[in-house]
């Protein structure tokens, strides 16, 4: 049997009280694939995304990560399994430097233990290794120069890239990006698009992306999933989705 898909959603439903935010949505994201989730405001994109990252527990259906059910797991468990997310409004720790942010991303791999620290065992080696790795990662993504600046003082574009580097620090096979292009200038969007493409092509990272910037979606996505009123109305390559009537209706509203 072939490997299971990286991420597979089967009939995932998310309800908030009487409101059905996500209604029996199914789709897959494969290794190295960039999958964009689009739709009008209130379509259920963020709820679906939160269900995958564990910030919301889906009421029914199945969320399989590398063939394993993760629907009821907590965010840190899902993160530890290798599905890591970024946040819409910037989830960087503003008081920490870019480098320290990436070190938080590597948290689980800096193996110092509480009582070990109290009673003498030093964790300097693990800390040094992690720091060296974090620097390399920042360099690779072209933001090495700002490694020692406070994250809160970086430009929007730099922040977004540092946040992606932080999420990627543990080499997760799946990256969940929540509106990474919001508030970015056109050149910064271009740089972001390059980073996303490289991650998928060169490192085989599967990417699930929520994005309103439609030109970014069309230029990077291998597949576009359109949600409207909690339902999936399209799941196809960008060119096909662009020509789809249902999609136009979703965006323009029903007559």
């Amino acid at each position: 049997m072939a490997d299971p898909p990286l991420l597979e959603l089967r009939d995932v439903t998310v309800r908030f009280g009487g409101l059905i935010a996500v209604n029996a949505v199914s789709f897959r994201v494969n290794k190295g694939e960039i999958c964009a989730l689009i739709g009008p405001n209130g379509a259920g994109k963020t709820s679906l995304f939160n269900a995958v990252s564990g910030n919301v527990i889906a009421n029914s259906g199945s969320i399989l990560f590398r063939g394993e059910e993760i629907r009821q797991l907590t965010p840190h468990e899902i993160s530890a399994r290798g599905a890591r997310r970024t946040f819409q409004n910037g989830g960087l720790f503003a008081d920490l430097t870019a480098l320290e942010n990436v070190l938080v991303g590597l948290h689980s791999q800096v193996g110092s233990r509480f009582f070990g620290l109290l009673f003498g065992r030093r964790s300097a080696a693990a800390e040094r290794d992690a720091t060296a790795r974090a620097r390399v990662l920042l360099d690779l993504m072209g933001v090495g120069a700002i490694a020692d600046q406070k994250a809160g003082a970086l430009s929007g574009g730099q922040q977004r890239i540092v946040e992606i580097v932080r999420a990627l620090a543990t080499n997760p096979p799946l990256l969940l990006l929540d509106e990474p292009a919001v508030g970015l200038s056109p050149p910064a969007r271009q740089q972001l698009a390059d980073v996303i493409r490289r991650l998928a092509r060169e490192r085989g990272v599967g990417i699930l992306l929520i994005e309103h910037a439609i030109e970014l979606v069309m230029s990077v996505a291998d597949r576009v999933i359109v949600l409207t009123e909690g339902r999936k109305v399209a799941d196809a390559p960008p060119a096909e989705v662009r020509a789809d009537r249902a999609v136009l209706e979703a965006y323009l509203g029903h007559a």
Binding site: T74, L118, K150
Partner: protein, 321 residues
């Protein structure tokens, strides 16, 4: 941040500070010695409080509960069971740690900000009520006498002798907390304080860190309580009221939220300053109060931020002054 790494070598020099304090009793009169001892008592008390409020960023005001429980644990174990004081330090830390764990339960269930503040405040008051009511053990509102402390058979019957015991305990607490704060734990605390959701998304078990910080904070404050018990020699519930809480809060605010050096400086300033103003009879509270206001006004991140600007050696890895 190059300054921070530059400072790490010089940091070893900090060991000189407790060493330099060793001959102090030769010059201090008994009262000054008592004030210095009190400052040392408040170092672990400030450190434990600051970990939860300053580093983790949770508004938990149950610090006096751990302080009182640590003090009464040592007091009761020495008075009723006749244990030597040094054997009661660990139990005081354990009781303080358990109290910290209990106080963390609302925070674990998602209670934050003012709601957490009032719940933890109530916990402290509940403990005070317990000391008053549990007369057989605590002597009720009349209080209880704490027998002279002994350390490995050596009687700590003067402030001078207690000073050395306190200095050793304080150095141990400071050194252990320093290691903790410079490690990934200190980083995780900052991450949690800044953005809990993002911290969890990075694989940090935020609930575990909350419990750990409350428990370690409670244990450290419990040690401070144990020191307090033998320093004053008499425990009564009024020592653990809201005024005491305000004093402890002033220590970390004046010293610097989230700064280990801040806890130490704050403890020293808040205990020593009122003694200086005793020479303005009738005005000491006024002068003291004004001074606190001025410090917070001009140094909102506390006196530690001033220190950090002085020299890179004073820059703490995860304290942003």
């Amino acid at each position: 941040m190059a300054g921070a790494s530059q400072g790490t070598g010089l940091r070893r020099l900090f060991w000189v500070i407790p060493l330099a304090m060793l001959p102090l009793p030769l010059w201090l009169n008994p009262y000054q010695q008592y004030v210095l001892n009190t400052a040392l008592v408040y170092v672990p008390v400030g450190i434990g409080f600051n970990l939860v409020v300053g580093n983790l960023g949770l508004l938990a005001f149950s610090n006096v509960a751990y302080f009182g429980l640590g003090a009464y644990t040592s007091g009761i174990l020495t008075a009723s069971l006749g244990l030597p004081w040094w054997l009661t330090i660990i139990p005081a830390a354990i009781v303080g740690g358990i109290a910290g764990f209990v106080a963390s339960i609302p925070a674990l269930r998602g209670v934050r900000l003012f709601y957490l503040a009032i719940m933890t405040l109530a916990f402290g008051e509940l403990m005070r009520w317990t000391y008053i009511r549990w007369e057989t053990l605590t002597g009720g509102s009349m209080g209880m006498a704490v027998p002279t402390a002994t350390l490995f058979g050596w009687r700590l019957d003067s402030d001078r002798s207690r000073f050395y015991a306190f200095l050793i305990l304080t150095v141990l607490v400071v050194a252990a907390t320093d290691r903790l704060l410079r490690s990934r734990f200190g980083r995780a605390f900052m991450a949690i304080k800044d953005n809990e959701l993002a911290a969890a998304a990075m694989g940090i078990r935020t609930d575990r860190y909350i419990v750990l910080t409350f428990a370690w904070g409670g244990a450290v404050v419990g040690i401070g309580g144990s020191m307090f018990a033998i320093s004053v020699g008499h425990l009564s519930p009024v020592s653990f009221d809201l005024t005491e809480l305000v004093l402890q809060f002033a220590i970390i605010m004046v010293g610097g939220l989230g700064s280990l050096a801040g806890s130490i400086i704050g403890a020293a300033v808040i205990t020593v300053l009122p003694q200086i103003f005793i020479s303005f009879p009738g005005f000491e509270e006024l002068v003291f109060g004004l001074l606190i206001i001025l410090i917070i006004l001009f140094l909102p991140r506390g006196l530690a931020s001033l220190l950090a600007r002085l020299h890179p050696a004073f820059v703490e890895r995860y304290y942003r002054g």
